[in-house]
């Protein structure tokens, strides 16, 4: 069982803020609220207009437009290479926007991309875990890096069905599905307002996928927003409230 390390200088989350999301002060402290996100002023989570995003000179997004509101679960569809991953990474503030507009959670990402990052979580194809470290090592490091208390993380690992016997195993020895569960647990614990997931069901078994779906439901009920790309349309369309179809770097259909 993970032991919360109270006096540890590396852990930056000291205590829960009283009610509303706090933007100032400690940059590592996630805007964590007990039950709901009080976001009357911010019902639009993603506002993208004619955004062009270049990857090594290639227009991965070639003028995409989309508006996503708080509490939605949005599915991104389309074949490979069509811009879904770029969409997700741009909304996370990781990619510069060459032209157009992109506002996420009230932050203008064309100007300054760093501020929005502590409010979002991005999970891609990679494990985002250090292979040489054990599950516990990784979880402790990433939780402190993301400003989360250890207690939350233990709960999240339980929630994702990561059995305790795996805790001291180096991550490189885990299966892809197990790594994915650990990675999702880290995301759960950091309680982001915007979940950006790139094929999150990939690598998970049936139980894991059901778990993830119920998770996404819980997250949006608490006020978060989920945007995910998936090729598994049956399952995805059942979970999603809305679907955006990509083609050639733009969004061609939107069943809002």
């Amino acid at each position: 069982m993970l032991v919360p390390t109270g006096s540890d200088a590396g852990s930056v989350s000291r205590r829960m803020p009283p009610c509303c999301p706090v933007d100032g002060g400690n940059p590592l402290q996630r805007a964590s609220v007990p039950a709901r996100y009080d976001d009357a002023a911010m019902s639009t989570v993603i506002d993208m207009r004619e955004a062009v995003v270049l990857l090594e000179r290639f227009p991965a997004l070639a003028g995409a437009t989309a508006t996503i509101d708080s509490g939605e679960i949005v599915l991104l569809q389309g074949p490979n290479g069509v811009g879904k991953t770029t969409f997700l990474r741009s909304c996370a503030g990781l990619l510069p926007v060459a032209s157009g507009r992109l506002d996420v959670l009230g932050h203008d990402l064309v100007g300054a991309r760093r501020a929005v990052r502590r409010h979002v979580a991005l999970l891609g194809h990679t494990s985002q875990l250090y292979d040489d470290l054990t599950v516990v090592d990784n979880v402790k490091f990433w939780s402190k890096a993301n400003g989360v208390r250890d207690g939350d993380l233990a709960g999240a690992l339980d929630r994702m069905g990561v059995s305790k016997r795996l805790y001291s195993i180096p991550v490189e020895r885990l299966s892809a599905g197990q790594k994915r569960r650990v990675a999702i647990a880290i995301v759960i614990a950091s309680r982001p307002r915007l979940w950006l997931l790139d094929e999150p069901h990939a690598g998970l078994d049936q139980a894991g996928r059901d778990l993830l779906d119920s998770l996404l439901g819980d997250a949006t009920e608490a006020g978060a927003t989920v945007v995910f790309a998936s090729h598994e349309l049956d399952r995805a369309e059942a979970v999603a409230s809305r679907s955006l179809v990509f083609s050639g770097g733009v969004i061609v259909s939107d069943d809002a």
């Binding site: 389309g78 074949p79 083609s247 050639g248 770097g249 733009v250």
Partner: protein, 253 residues
């Protein structure tokens, strides 16, 4: 830099053609005066003629690298605000560095030959020589970085940072080696003695500096334009890529 004007010479223009002829002419003058009409030195004999090549080379190399450093700094400042601006600054930095590297190599070679004749050794470990060879390798690394397969914006910004760090490093290297060698006094022949040269020699030297500077400018301008052409080709590629990407969208997924 001005537009390309002539079809048969892609990076030529009236300015560079004039410059080219001027440098060729002045090089011929230097060749004649340097090898034939100017006198030999009282101390060094015929070897002094190598100086007409060696000294301008190193000045031009230093000058080129100062240009690289300056333009790299400007580029970093400009690109910090808008990531895709200031490309021309990066181009100047890159072409100046290439000119600088070529001239440093020639400096080292001509210096080695001169040293062999006058001191009997190709090389010695003093501050100036050691700094020069390290400077040479440093900018070789810079040029290698510029040629890496990567996002051109990313590559340019990193190269600019590397150039700036190199500029900080050179005085540190010079100071360290200088201190090191002065602690070994008397062991080597000092390069620092200012030899007395006659006016005849100094005039040719001055003219050689002018001539090689013209050559360097000519090379630098052409290289700048070649870089610009490479970038134009890439940009046209992007326009076409955007268009075909949109066409994919119209055809349907």
């Amino acid at each position: 830099m001005q537009q390309v004007e002539r079809k048969d010479s892609m990076t030529g223009s009236l300015a560079t053609t004039t410059l080219g002829w001027a440098s060729l002419a002045s090089l011929i003058v230097v060749l004649i005066t340097g090898l034939i009409t100017s006198p030999k030195d009282a101390n060094q004999g015929e070897a002094v003629r190598l100086l007409y090549v060696h000294v301008p080379m190193i000045w031009i190399a230093y000058g080129s690298f100062i240009i690289t450093a300056g333009y790299s700094g400007l580029f970093v400042a400009k690109a910090a605000n808008r990531p895709d601006s200031g490309r021309h600054l990066d181009r100047v930095a890159g072409s100046a560095a290439e000119v600088g590297v070529v001239f440093t190599a020639l400096t080292l070679i001509s210096g080695a030959l001169w040293g062999r004749i006058t001191w009997g050794v190709y090389w010695q470990w003093d501050a100036r020589l050691t700094t020069t060879v390290l400077m040479f390798v440093t900018y070789l690394g810079y040029l290698a970085l510029r040629k890496l397969p990567a996002d051109p914006y990313v590559r340019s910004r990193r190269a600019a940072i590397v150039a700036l760090i190199a500029t900080v490093n050179l005085p540190i290297v010079h100071y360290s080696v200088d201190w090191w060698r002065t602690l070994h006094q008397g062991a080597s022949i000092t390069v620092g003695n200012k030899p007395e040269y006659t006016n005849d020699i100094l005039i040719v030297l001055l003219f050689a500096v002018v001539a090689f500077t013209l050559v360097a400018l000519w090379l630098g301008i052409h290289r700048y334009r070649v870089i610009r052409l490479e970038e134009i080709r890439e940009e046209e590629g992007i326009e076409m890529a955007i268009a075909s990407r949109r066409a994919e969208a119209e055809v349907g997924s």
